[in-house]
């Protein structure tokens, strides 16, 4: 149970964030008031079962409409969504990536498929910041149509979660949409298959190389209320934390690293020496369970 706790919470989150199970009958998406709340993880709001809004889609919509908003004196800058994500980040940093995000769960499950595994070079970890800056903020504001509206660059050209959760199911549910399929859709399907294949070979490639939401949360990892603590006096540098880490972090070199998704595998499963513990708002939490002392193990 303890070992599977994260998988259970991930699965429950995926079910709750996609809890509109009436869609096979209604053949359309959920349209209730819950959709005014943004999901903490990446979950397309055009998924027929989605019960909440996608935070990245919402921010892009605000950025794309910012010129029109100013002209209409409405001043919608997306503060509601940015504030909501900032509150989550300030509380727990990137923890939603490890425990809530449905697309993270899909990647975790794909990585379970046995076979040869590869590591992702460190340089790719800067990718999410480039995608966050360009596709979420700069391009939607900068490149506009004749009416002053921008495009949802990330959703339109990249997001594999949108293709998987919205594109493919809606094409099955609504045959009229099939007539609108063009080259762009096939490119997005290719992007999806690329990340599916990469997820079998490497752990969480989308989160580590592209995801702008993870990039946003990562700014809070070192400053959030929830912190992981390193106890160097107990650490043997056995590298079990590095071996088990889904994002290849050596905890003893960089605790609360910006790449850390707070899955807590290092704390709960890897470290046998009690070298890792957590703390929230001054309250000390459980440390990794010491099984043998560092002295005995040498």
């Amino acid at each position: 149970m303890r070992r599977h706790l994260r998988r259970i919470i991930q699965s429950l989150s995926a079910l709750l964030l996609n809890g509109y199970w009436y869609f096979p009958v209604s053949r359309t998406i959920y349209q209730g008031r819950l959709k005014s709340i943004c999901s903490p993880g990446l979950n397309c709001h055009s998924c027929p079962a989605a019960t909440t809004a996608c935070p990245l889609g919402a921010i892009q919509n605000f950025m794309a409409g910012i010129r029109a908003s100013l002209e209409a004196a409405r001043y919608h800058f997306g503060f509601y969504v940015l504030g909501w994500l900032g509150i989550i980040g300030g509380l727990v940093g990137r923890m939603p990536c490890g425990w809530i995000c449905p697309f993270g769960l899909i990647q975790d499950l794909l990585f379970k498929i046995p076979g040869r595994k590869i590591r992702i070079p460190y340089i790719f970890s800067y990718g999410p910041y480039i995608f966050l800056a360009l596709t979420i903020f700069i391009l939607p504001v900068w490149v506009v149509d004749a009416f002053g509206y921008g495009f949802l660059w990330f959703c339109k050209f990249i997001c594999p979660a949108g293709t998987l959760e919205a594109g493919l199911p809606l094409l099955i549910l609504q045959p009229t949409l099939r007539t609108m399929v063009g080259h762009l859709f096939y490119i997005k399907v290719a992007v999806l298959f690329f990340f599916v294949a990469w997820s079998v070979l490497a752990s969480r490639p989308f989160c580590r190389t592209v995801c702008p939401l993870g990039a946003f949360y990562s700014f809070f990892n070192r400053a959030s209320l929830f912190q992981l603590k390193y106890h160097p006096e107990k650490c043997t540098h056995c590298e079990l934390c590095y071996r088990d880490c889904p994002v290849d972090i050596k905890f003893y070199e960089s605790s609360n690293d910006r790449r850390c998704i707070r899955c807590l595998v290092c704390l709960r499963e890897s470290c046998a020496f009690g070298a890792i513990s957590w703390e929230m708002g001054g309250l000390e939490g459980q440390s990794s369970r010491p099984k043998t002392s560092p002295v005995n193990s040498q």
Binding site: K35, S36, L85, I87, C155, I187, K188, F220, G282
Partner: protein
């Protein structure tokens, strides 16, 4: 106890409230309840 997390949470809570008062919640709802063709790759 560290003060920084509480300051960060307070600032973003304030931002969230400004957005809410400014009617952004309704705007999020309006976009999220209609099918996003861009998200599907056919927009």
């Amino acid at each position: 106890m560290r003060k920084r997390p509480f300051i960060i949470i307070g600032v973003f809570l304030f931002l969230c409230l400004i957005g809410t008062v400014n009617g952004e919640v309704k705007s999020v709802l309006q976009k999220a309840v209609s099918i996003c063709l861009d998200c599907m790759g056919i927009g």
